[in-house]
Amino acid sequence: MTDMIAQTSEAGQELKPRSEVTARELFREIGSVLRMSEAEAAMLGDLPEDPDEDQTMILNMGPQHPSTHGVLRLMLELQGETVLRCKPIIGYLHTGMEKTGESLTYLQGGTNVTRMDYLSPFLNELVFSMAVEQLLGIDGDIPPRATWIRVLMCELNRMASHLLFLATNGMDLGAVSMMIYGWREREEVLRFFQKVTGLRMNHNYIRPGGVSADLPPGWRDDVLRLLDLIPPRLQEYDTLMTGQPIWRERLQGVGMITPTEAVALAATGPVLRSTGVDWDIRRGMPYLTYPELEFDVIVGSYGDAFDRYAIRLNEVRESMRIVRQCLDRMPQGDYRIQDKKVTPPPRARIDESMEALIHHFKLFTEGFKVPEGEVYVAVESPRGELGCYLVSDGTAKPYRMHIRAPSFVNIQALPHMMRGGLVADAVAVISSVDPVLGDVDR
């Protein structure tokens, strides 16, 4: 047999055993890269096609498709209803926020980063502030109350983000009433944000050195009301969706991804955890007060869209556990560091002290100088690892600010999840990755 192959010189065409296929070939084969430029695809559309020869077609889904969560465009190669290959095309929301960040001082930077992943603004501010604090070397001196407020707000933010995921996921799959419910519960959380920060979104609340303001009077009652309100509603969702046969049919076994693929593609967050890898930065490399908190990392087992749905639903419950612990353990004290270099003087001091006025003015016009160096800090956002790589050249503005956006990286997993699935499932798959296009394009 081998002689025959050698004689007919077809050895190269034979399919190699799986063990010999390199990772590169495998990933190419399963469609991680659709190597066709937009111009080429357009030309292909103009050519008269021989129906017997070419049974596939290229279909553009988005960027204005309602299920693409913003302006994601997918180039799908279809054979009938089956997706063969898929290429996500992004950049429609690119506004150069990393470049903008280089011209803003460290104090102004928060207003910029908070607009990236607009569903988890607190996490964006947190990762930027933590990076600045590490460069300044004050990361160990943040007052405990500030740290606990950060945990409280971030976990409430995780709840709000996941509730919105439940809403949009329901909408994408035809459970339209779920959309209304999810938005309704999220609005309750946002109302609390508005009370604390003055804004529903894009707060600029977590700043280098602490938080911008203390919690308002009555915050404890508001949070307790939330904690009473949401569990029965989650119970309702369970009745409405989790146990419902149509819902399970739509999600189970759809958009499967293996742990090896997820790690190779650097997918993080619920996408990685759905495959059974128990990686959560809050547990694996804890920051803030997470080592002292009691919570479970929710892990799936099949890596399908249903696991990703169930993980997020249960993460809302875990976040509520953490919030409850924050309520019990919230210490008294300063809500920002008493370091004159970083923190502006209190409002009352400005009226009576010339130095305080000058100091305040200089801090908000020139900003504070950050020692030279570079640092990478990562936190667990609702979508995965949110990282900030910050380079300082010793001036008051970052020399380079790079945000490692979880949605940007997770979107790479779409072609793997969609391959061989149906077009209708493509919608379920996009939804289950929960990309935020502001985060993808930045």
Partner: protein, 174 residues
């Protein structure tokens, strides 16, 4: 009672930190470990680190140091205009390591990590798009965030930041 810390047991109290890893100088930056391989060593070092447990490549980015050439680097590493920064993560041990590669302006080419970590595909495209650094052997090195026909690479320091004048309501003569 003897103080344990002051007992001289022959070994240095604080073992000198290693200065080399896989043949490349290492430094620490704010407590984080940084490896400085050359471009030739880059892929091999990332491969060796993957065998050491750093199985996930979470981030690939770059920095343009044209206006800040005097940054501290270990001996034997000459500063160049660009620096490609790769962040690796060890999921089992919960540790990170950073790889910084110097890339000269005259030949802004770096071998791709696609063979080791396929997840770098989009990140390397972003670096190419924003800095014009070419990743040789990358399967699909095209622009990712900017339009296909865009000229220039926005995150380079010599690429100016544009300003769009905004007309506010009620300004001017009325």
């Amino acid at each position: 009672m003897t103080d344990v810390d002051t007992v001289d047991d022959g070994a240095p109290p604080d073992e000198a930190a290693p200065t080399e890893l896989h043949g490349c100088p290492i430094t620490t930056s704010r407590g984080q470990v940084v490896v400085h391989p050359s471009r030739e060593q880059y892929v091999d070092v990332v491969k060796a680190l993957a065998d050491d447990g750093y199985t996930m490549c979470v981030d690939v980015t770059a920095v343009d140091f044209i206006t800040h050439p005097g940054r501290p680097l270990p001996d034997g590493v000459a500063p160049e205009r660009f620096e490609v920064v790769t962040n690796l993560l060890d999921l089992a041990a919960g540790r990170r390591i950073r790889v910084r590669v110097q890339v000269p302006e005259s030949d802004a080419t770096v071998p791709t990590l696609f063979d080791v970590h396929p997840g770098t595909e989009a990140m390397e495209r972003e670096v190419y798009d924003m800095f014009g650094i070419v990743f040789s052997d990358h399967p699909d090195l095209t622009r990712i965030l900017m339009p296909e026909d865009w000229e220039g690479h926005p995150l380079r320091k010599d690429y100016d930041q544009g300003v769009i004048p905004v007309q506010f309501k009620g300004t001017g003569s009325r």
